[in-house]
């Protein structure tokens, strides 16, 4: 598979299937590549996959969670014992594992929706920001389980993804109101909780999400309203931003902006929300405190990555 094909396949999924997140799209692209790959050695295969990841991350889509998803995928498919068999068999094993992995990831969203359900109490007002598939899924499940609640959706400039969310909610017959981004402080006293998705959960327990989330989180903290984050565990990423300035440029700006080389006038698309503002994280691993993030999925983050990372460093 050529680089162009990879990029085409990826953008195809991204455009045609709005229900699929970038990470899942990237992983299915990698699976496709694995299927059609003609490499003869593991080294070559690895190199191909790496270059494919590079192509995907350089695309014009928002790719905040992609790198973590891809890294997890690579780790997962190579986790099997691959020493004794031929390379063809080895590839088959990897492919099977990859498919299992993809299925696990797609199930994750339902799991999150299920564990969030008890938090929807009849008569609650919920504020949400931008468009999040997980939040939508959770609300869908809640409304199907005869819960009555009202949703306020912030418009979420500059891409107005909040309007998209608003329309989706309307389709589901959930009572909802569209509010301005600047009205977050105004509306906060009326809501009972804030529920947002995340593009990426970082090691500190904070999240990276659509710009405006941080404002909302600080506002919620001040009004003493719980700030819930719904996210799948494949969005856990091995990075540790210290503040907004410390976020990588390719997260903050789209590829087009980066090519312009004039970032002073560009609008950042994501921001970092500090863990102190987050009440709980709803993941497919369970409900976590942000401070315990590193401890609870320790199995995931530590035993699998840490020593890997250690060997890479040393």
């Amino acid at each position: 598979m050529l680089k162009q094909e990879v990029s085409q396949y990826f953008s195809n999924i991204m455009e045609k299937e709005p229900d699929v997140s970038a990470s899942i799209a990237a992983i299915s692209t990698l699976l496709k590549l694995l299927e059609h790959d003609k490499s003869e050695t593991v080294q070559e295969l690895d190199l191909n996959l790496q270059s494919a990841v590079e192509v995907i991350t350089n695309s014009s889509y928002r790719i905040t969670g992609v790198s973590s998803g891809c890294a997890l995928f690579m780790r997962f498919i190579t986790f099997a014992k691959l020493d004794t068999i031929t390379f063809a068999e080895c590839k088959k094993v990897m492919l099977d594992r990859g498919k299992v992995f993809l299925k696990k990831l797609t199930d994750a969203r339902n799991k999150v929706a299920k564990i969030t359900l008890p938090y929807f109490v009849d008569g609650t007002n919920i504020l949400t920001h931008s468009k999040s598939r997980v939040v939508l899924e959770a609300m869908k499940l809640a409304v199907n389980s005869q819960k009555r609640f009202h949703v306020f959706v912030s418009e979420s400039s500059p891409d107005k993804s909040g309007i998209e969310m608003y329309n989706c909610l309307k389709k589901l017959n959930i009572p909802c109101t569209l509010v301005l981004d600047s009205a977050v402080g105004y509306i906060m006293e009326r809501v009972d909780m804030v529920m947002v998705g995340a593009e990426c959960v970082v090691e500190s327990g904070g999240i990276i999400n659509k710009i405006g989330s941080c404002t909302m989180a600080i506002c919620a903290k001040e009004f003493k309203k719980p700030f819930y984050v719904l996210t799948e565990s494949y969005k856990f990423s091995r990075m540790y931003p210290l503040n907004q300035r410390d976020l990588p440029y390719n997260f903050k700006y789209t590829a087009n902006n980066l090519n312009d080389n004039n970032l002073s006038n560009a609008h950042p698309t994501v921001d970092y929300t500090h863990p102190t503002y987050i009440s709980l994280l709803f993941t497919d691993l369970g409900i976590l405190m942000p401070s315990a993030m590193i401890i609870k999925p320790g199995n995931l983050l530590f035993s699998r990555y840490t020593f890997y990372a250690k060997y890479v460093v040393i």
Binding site: S204, N243, R245, D246, V313
Partner: protein, 487 residues
């Protein structure tokens, strides 16, 4: 009235004279006390001149010379106590006599000087009596809250001499102990390295006694040395972790191993520990921390940390554009060493004292701190003053990074700086003459403090950049080689 007035004046003169006499007596006492204290206090003995690394032999003789003094002074002290005790019952009569004499003096209208001369002679015995009421000479300078941190230097020194003379403590350890006590070797990393080097020498010079196993006899052999070091200065967390690790390997040696093999094995273990846990860990931390230094950063650091110095110089050589603010504090002024080393490498530096932190913090974009140890509850133990820095940084929303190798992580839990700390020499805070005989003044010199995890943005370790609270996770996944590992 007329008659009375002069008498009153006279009495004033008398009072003055009395005071003068008292002063004189006091000064004498001071002198005596100072001399005594000198002989008692081991810390005051090694003068700055002797601070260069002396061969252990000389040290030995030094100790020997010191030894008899405290005993003599003790005996003298006891004697004086006995004398005082004898005098006590007589006090009222002596006082009466004094009063009578005073009166006669007044009547005689003698010269002041004469009176003074007489008074001194008379009052002297009286003084000794008075002095009984206050604890004489040995004014105990201990802050009650930190009572558990003081150790009785006199008795410990005597014990140490016994140990040293019994030739059971290897000269390398004696040297290291003195280097620690006199603060030639300071800093967690440096102390750990010096300890391991001394241990290596001990291992290479050790001979297994006949009919004994290497591992058991070596453990026994090392016991007094460890005790000796502990009395020189309490073990740092890094040292005790290293010690635990090495001893774990010693215990695991097979029974029938020959001396040569065992030594070779242990030497490898130690070298490996130094290389992996200290050197390579430092390198990994350098890489991780450098990624967090952006161009145009102003990095604030406190005191001296070998690791922070390494990070900053390496970042500079990797063409990062940043400047450094070094915050320093009394009594050790370790920041000067940092300043010296950074300036030597052409790093842009600003030097301020701790009192200017809140002013200078507005200009900093990041704070880098070294650490003595990381505790299991996420608290960071560092040089006294670092918690203030973290607090101010938090207030100004400046991210605080603590750089620490994982071998300094400990399972101890601590929430204040009182329970476990170390006392420095009080005379470093304030000249000895100013407080030694003033029982209302006790300087306190603490070496460490602990910082709460909510003031710290992240800890940079060789494993990853972590939040403070994940220390227990690291402790749990730390490789099995440590004796402390719990399955």
């Amino acid at each position: 009235m007329d008659k009375k007035k002069p008498t009153e004046e006279k009495t004033r003169e008398e009072v003055e004279a009395e005071r003068k006499a008292k002063r004189a007596a006091k000064q004498e006492r001071k002198k005596a006390a100072l001399e005594k204290h000198k002989s008692d206090e081991p810390d005051s003995l090694p003068k700055p001149k002797d601070r260069s690394l002396e061969p252990s032999k000389k040290v030995n003789t030094n100790e020997l010379v010191k030894e008899p003094k405290p005993e003599v002074s003790k005996a003298a002290f006891k004697k004086s106590l006995v004398q005082i005790a004898d005098v006590t019952p007589k006090t009222p009569s002596i006082k009466k006599i004094n009063v009578v004499k005073k009166l006669t003096n007044v009547k005689c209208n003698k010269n002041k000087e004469n009176i003074i001369a007489e008074k001194i002679g008379e009052i002297q015995p009286c003084k000794t009596v008075n002095s009984l009421k206050k604890p004489l000479g040995t004014v105990i300078h201990k802050v009650k809250l930190f009572n558990h941190l003081y150790f009785d230097t006199v008795s410990l020194m005597a014990e140490n001499k016994l140990k040293i003379n019994s030739e059971r403590v290897h000269p390398a350890f004696i040297k290291f102990g003195i280097q620690m006590r006199t603060c030639i070797v300071v800093g967690s990393n440096a102390r750990c390295l010096a300890f391991l080097c001394a241990l290596k020498q001990t291992i290479s010079d050790f001979l297994t006694p006949e009919h004994k196993q290497f591992s058991r006899s070596f453990e026994e052999h090392l016991g007094p040395a460890i005790d000796y070091l502990n009395t020189s200065r309490p073990f740092s967390v890094s040292m005790s972790n290293a010690h635990k690790y090495i001893m774990w390997h010693v215990k695991r040696l097979p029974n029938n191993i020959s001396d040569g093999q065992a030594k070779e094995k242990l030497e490898n273990v130690i070298n490996n520990y130094i290389y992996v846990q200290i050197h390579m860990a430092g390198k990994a931390i350098c890489i991780a921390a450098q990624n967090k230094i952006a161009n145009g950063d102003v990095i604030l650091t406190y005191g001296y940390s070998s690791l922070v110095e390494r990070i900053l110089t390496e970042a500079y050589y990797n063409n990062k554009q940043f400047s450094v603010i070094i915050v320093d504090s009394a009594p050790w002024y370790e920041g000067r060493q940092m300043l010296h080393r950074l300036v030597q490498n052409d790093v842009k530096c600003t030097y301020v004292l701790l009192s200017a932190t809140s002013f200078i913090m507005t200009r900093a974009t990041k704070v880098l701190l070294g650490a003595h140890a990381l505790l299991a509850n996420g608290y960071v133990m560092g040089r006294a003053g670092s918690s203030q820095i973290a607090l101010v940084a938090k207030h100004f929303n400046v991210p605080v990074l603590v750089c620490c190798e994982t071998y300094k992580f400990t399972e101890r839990v601590q929430t204040d700086s009182i329970v476990y700390n170390e006392l420095g020499n009080a005379h470093e805070v304030m000249p000895k003459e100013q407080w030694l005989n003033n029982r209302y003044l006790t300087p306190l010199c603490l070496r460490y403090d602990v910082t709460t995890p909510d003031l710290i943005t992240a800890v940079v370790t060789e494993i990853a950049i972590l939040p403070c609270t994940s220390v227990p996770v690291v402790l749990r996944v730390r490789p099995n080689e440590y004796g402390t590992y719990n399955k």
